[in-house]
């Protein structure tokens, strides 16, 4: 079970958090102007990387804030956590 360093609360057990899928997928500002394929790209297509992945997490049983995490899925090492809207601190 991970120890996750919530950017608002500090280090907490994974059981306090909820994973929220891939990060940095921005909801299109003008969905109506997108083709079916473009909309489907936003709606359905997600990466499933073995290695470094950018993820959304929610401190659901804590401050309830969403934040981003950089995690290596091959060994579960958390490389960084950062607030929504911030640029990833690692590549």
């Amino acid at each position: 079970m991970f120890l996750i360093n919530c950017p608002f609360c500090g280090e907490r057990e994974q059981s306090e958090f909820k994973a929220g899928g891939e990060a940095h997928i921005v909801r299109p500002k003008q969905p109506t102007e997108l083709s079916d394929d473009e909309w489907a790209e936003y709606l359905f297509m997600r990466k499933n990387i073995k290695g470094v992945q950018f993820e959304r997490w929610n401190h659901i049983h804590g401050c309830r804030k969403w934040f981003n995490m950089v995690r290596d899925t091959s060994n579960d090492q958390i490389k960084a956590v950062y607030k929504m809207g911030e640029k990833p601190p690692v590549k």
């Binding site: 079970m1 120890l3 909801r27 109506t32 997108l34 079916d36 709606l43 929610n58 309830r64 929504m84």
Partner: protein, 1003 residues
């Protein structure tokens, strides 16, 4: 008790404390300090069980948690009965009752033993190959196979014991209290680390605590004496907590570990009441030191499984720790020096050693010379080729090994013995290390896998790290701990260590036989009866991956998870396939290291704590008034209120009728309520609901439908505008938490610019819904100060009011189609206001109704229930709710998806009403809907989602989803049931009061 077998010199056994116990209905005696295994051996009993597949007699093989054979049923026929318990781990107590498993009628005479004779036709994969044809017969085969499968009996009644869970945080966790674990704990604790030391045994010190050999000494003291002083010292350290009988079951990422602390299993039954039996420790450690030691390997030769064949280290432990001799005429069979330590222990007690069979040609360490000096015959370069004796070994035959170790040559010699100790070297116990994600490397010299890459802040020390000699263990433990803990002071001044063993080994995974392999039974996995023959067969049949061979032969799949034989299986695979061990890797080590009881896993979450539930503030009234309850989300909701002998149907019919005829009252407190405030609250609602919100006047209510981005209906409910920038949203009972989460997600991540604040207020309010033609009269009595006239208080509006001093929010909204008022009050006034309503409604036959009646009434009106009539595959258009989807709004969640190529298909499943041809016939919810039952395969058009008998319409009504259902109005469809086909007509989903007159009817 045979005196010949017990040596009254062990300080670990309290000979003044005699303990009686029963095994297979016979009473025996042992002493305090014995395990069931040591006590049975002291009584001359080796045969304790039958093997899983061939029902071969099996005896005690080891002295610890790695035991594959001596697994027994504890506490026969009681609520505490427990199968598959290792006799080697059970500390005996007064009144212990145990019996053999997997045998009938008895362990001495077992009918299933016939499988042993049939073994030539029961090879690996026998079941897969034999019971495949004809496929339709599988159900018949399965019955018999299941009957013969499984070990032991599970308890039939509730477990009387208490279990609990406990969180522990520490700087350093040391797993294993052998010599390196003790040293590690001392170094950590003395250097300021808050340290926890755990060991699965009932004593500290591991195998060194009974190491009285003159050949391995520390500072010129016996290892055992030196270690005893160390233990004495650490037990006084304040910074160190020590837990014995504590087995680490799992090592997860980020140094999170699970351990089981056993607290009462060693006590007499009558001392266990009201005490916690097992505690599951959830340990989060900053640093972990694994000192789990190593497990002696058996040797793989023909008939290597007879009772009386033990690991040589086990024989030594039974003598030195328990004072028990496993046999009176011993033979040791080894490929390394370990067995000579056992020999020295036997010699010291004057127990006969008939011979030592050593694979090696050269045997030249000090200890070997010493054994030889005692006139023990050592057969160098020999191997055991067969063993004899059915219920106990009585003879072995040996032959000379060829130079390359691939064959046996020369004459066969037979030797008598009643106990054979085997030693194939040692396997580091790397289970926990690999569970944590650690990577192993293979060390060719002595053919062991050892830790290589650590995934977290941890280290392995001692023999689990591949250090086997005492000098090596101590030297390497000290140096690696200094580095790991980043300390200068090791707490240990120069230690002088003498080690009389050398580490030479002649490793032959599968020992050769004079017979062809097909005629041998060389067991690799004792518990699952997998032999070397099976592994070779699997390879011949094309299996290459170890994981596949494992599953095909079941090697390593017993309750012992192959702690003894897995390495041999790997060795035989790589030898046979001509590949390298290191390249194969190992099979996956999975938690738990040793089996856990279900009680340990569940802890206190049993009975009413199994799943927590929520009660409304009015719950007690429902209980008092005979309500039956239904679980909705985590809530207990009143389902219906049977009167006298009413069944559910009768109660629901009465309640439904009363609600339309006069008045009904419902506890709606469970509905999710979200308080929404902020200058952008209206804009926010515009974006999350399909309809428009900007123009909703203050004091008005509106129904809203919420979609997912994929356009599918997610939740619904009425939202009320309390002020210019203030709304209260209601959600479905089950969806409340998820809706709040979804709204927060959008606010925080997509629309952070919006000035909107959300709070869950579900628990803050009690909600009482009074409906029916007389509802207005009732609520007017309850809230006399409020003007309930239709002019002042029309449908879909809201008023603040007071009941005495109690503030309340009243909404005139309806889920039943009747005039209906929802009174929201602070939760703790819920019950008193409910009672006031009941009182006020007395003259109007006010009838409390539950969720079932609510469902029926709304179905009459064709109102959907999200999650019952929808299942995340239906758009509002599919639900014939086009009216609620705004055409004007530029965007809302899910809008774009409503005209994807898939969502605009005409033949999507759509919500329709269904009327049965026979109005008395009520459909089953979930039943399939078809149009043609003659054409095979029958095309499934949809299913019934809601179905009731309507007392107000006096006929059966149903809702369902049907492909292209919108265009089928008036068409006949068929509901095929087990014994009959039911004809239905597709209808409008609104069955009752289509015009909605009753909402405003003047009565």
């Amino acid at each position: 008790m045979s005196n010949n077998l017990r040596f009254k010199t062990s300080k670990f056994i309290d000979e003044t404390y005699r303990v009686s116990f029963k095994f297979n209905n016979k009473t025996y005696f042992g002493f305090k300090g014995d395990t069931l295994a040591s006590a049975l051996l002291a009584n001359g009993i080796h045969l304790v069980g039958r093997s899983f597949k061939y029902h071969r007699p099996r005896g005690i093989m080891t002295s610890g948690s790695e035991e594959p054979n001596a697994i027994i049923q504890l506490h026969d026929n009681s609520s505490r009965t427990e199968p598959n318990v290792r006799a080697t781990e059970v500390e005996i107590y007064e009144g212990l009752v145990a019996s053999s498993q997997n045998c009938w009628p008895s362990v001495n005479f077992d009918i299933g033993g016939i499988n042993n004779l049939l073994s030539p036709i029961l090879p690996a994969g026998f079941y897969y190959k034999t019971f495949m044809w004809p496929a339709s017969f599988w159900e018949k085969y399965e019955y018999f196979i299941r009957k013969s499968a499984g070990l032991g009996k599970s308890p039939k009644v509730a477990d009387p014991d208490i279990y609990e869970h406990n969180y522990i945080h520490c700087d350093v966790l040391v797993i294993g209290a052998g010599i390196s674990g003790i040293m590690a704990a001392k170094m950590a604790a003395k250097n300021g680390f808050k340290t926890l030391l755990v060991d699965e045994k009932s004593y500290l010190g591991g195998s060194s605590i009974y190491d009285n050999s003159e050949f391995s000494k520390i500072n010129n003291q016996l290892t055992s004496s030196w270690l005893e002083k160390e233990i004495n010292e650490i037990s006084k350290l304040e910074n160190l907590e020590i837990k014995i009988r504590t087995s680490v079951a799992a090592y997860h990422g980020y140094n999170f570990l699970l351990a089981r602390e056993s607290l009462t299993d060693h006590l007499p039954i009558n001392q266990r009441d009201n005490k916690v039996r097992h505690r599951l420790l959830k340990i989060r450690a900053k640093k972990v030191i694994t000192a789990t030691g190593s497990i002696e390997r058996p040797l793989i030769f023909d008939n290597n499984d007879r009772p009386g064949i033990l690991l040589s280290s086990a024989i030594k432990k039974y003598i030195d720790l328990y004072g028990v001799a496993c046999g009176e005429n011993n033979v040791l069979f080894t490929n390394n020096d370990t067995a000579y330590e056992t020999a020295m222990s036997l010699i010291q007690r004057g127990i006969k050693i008939n011979a030592i069979i050593d694979n090696r040609e050269q045997v030249d360490s000090k200890i070997c010379y010493e054994v030889e000096k005692n006139n023990i015959k050592i057969y160098k370069g020999f191997s055991v080729v067969d063993t004899y004796g059915y219920r106990r070994i009585n003879k072995i035959s040996i032959m000379k090994l060829s130079k390359d170790g691939q064959t046996v040559i020369g004459d066969k010699t037979k030797l008598n013995c009643d106990c054979l100790g085997v030693s194939g070297g040692w396997t580091p116990a790397v289970h926990l290390f690999t569970q944590s994600g650690g990577k192993l490397k293979f060390r060719e010299e002595d053919q062991v896998f050892i830790p290589d890459v650590y995934p977290s802040d941890q280290i392995s020390v001692g023999s689990c790290n591949g250090d086997f000699g005492l000098d090596e263990i101590i030297k390497n433990t000290l140096s690696s701990l200094k580095k790991f803990l980043n300390i200068d002071n090791s707490e240990y001044k120069t230690l002088e260590i003498i080690s009389g063993l050398n580490q030479s080994k002649r490793n032959i995974w599968l020992l050769p036989s004079d017979k062809t392999i097909g005629k041998t039974k060389s067991f690799v996995d004792y518990q699952n009866d997998a032999t070397s023959k099976d592994i070779k067969l699997a390879l011949r049949e094309g299996f290459r991956s170890i994981e596949h061979v494992k599953r095909y032969t079941t090697t390593g799949m017993g309750t012992d998870q192959g702690k003894l034989g897995n390495m041999h299986a790997l060795g035989i695979i790589s030898e046979t396939a001509g590949t390298k061990m290191g390249e194969h890797g190992t099979t996956t080590f999975r938690p738990p290291y040793t089996p856990l009881t279900f009680g340990t896993i569940v802890g206190r979450n049993v009975g009413e704590f199994f799943d927590i539930f929520r009660r409304t503030p009015i719950h007690d009234w429902h209980v008092k008034n005979n309500a039956e309850f239904e679980n909705v989300g985590q809530w207990k909701r009143a389902w219906y209120y049977p009167k006298e002998n009413e069944n559910m149907h009768q109660a629901v019919q009465r309640e439904s009728k009363a609600a339309r005829d006069s008045a009904g009252i419902l506890d709606a407190s469970t509905l999710g309520k979200i308080d929404i405030q902020g200058t952008d609250a209206s804009e926010f609602l515009n974006r999350v609901y399909t309809n428009a919100w900007s123009k909703l006047a203050v004091g008005k209510c509106r129904y809203g439908l919420m979609l997912n981005e994929d356009g599918m209906v997610y939740d619904d409910g009425v939202t009320t505008r309390l002020g210019e920038n203030h709304y209260i949203m209601t959600t479905t009972t089950g969806g409340a938490a998820n809706v709040l989460g979804k709204l927060e997600d959008y606010l925080q991540t997509e629309w952070p610019e919006l000035d909107v604040y959300l709070s869950s207020v579900t628990d803050h309010y009690a909600t009482i819904s009074v409906c029916g033609p007389n509802s207005k009269k009732i609520v007017s009595k309850v809230i006399p100060d409020l003007d309930f006239s239709d002019e002042n208080f029309p449908h879909m509006s809201f008023k603040n009011a007071k009941i005495g001093n109690i503030k309340c929010k009243v909404m005139r909204i309806s889920f039943t189609g009747e005039q209906s008022y929802e009174i929201n009050i602070q939760a703790n006034f819920g019950k008193s206001v409910w009672e006031k309503c009941m009182d006020a409604g007395k003259d109007f036959n006010i009838t409390p109704y539950g969720t079932e009646t609510m469902h029926l009434l709304r179905a009459e009106k064709g109102f959907i229930i999200v999650g019952q009539d929808t299942d995340a595959t239906l758009t509002p258009i599919d639900l014939q709710m086009d009216w609620i989807v705004s055409k004007k709004k530029y965007d809302f969640i899910g809008k774009r998806s409503l005209y994807r190529s898939d969502t605009i298909r005409e033949d999507r499943k759509q919500l329709v009403g269904l009327l049965t041809e026979n109005p008395e016939e009520v459909l089953e919810e979930g039943a399939q809907i078809v149009s043609d039952v003659k054409k095979s395969p029958i095309e499934m058009l949809g299913h019934v989602t809601s179905s009731y008998y309507s007392p107000n319409l006096k006929k059966s009504i149903a809702l369902g989803v049907v492909k292209s259902g919108k265009n089928m109005l008036g068409q006949k469809l068929i509901i095929p049931m087990e014994n009959k086909n039911i004809n239905v007509i597709v209808a409008d989903p609104v069955f009752f009061d289509k015009e909605g007159k009753r909402l405003n009817a003047k009565l």
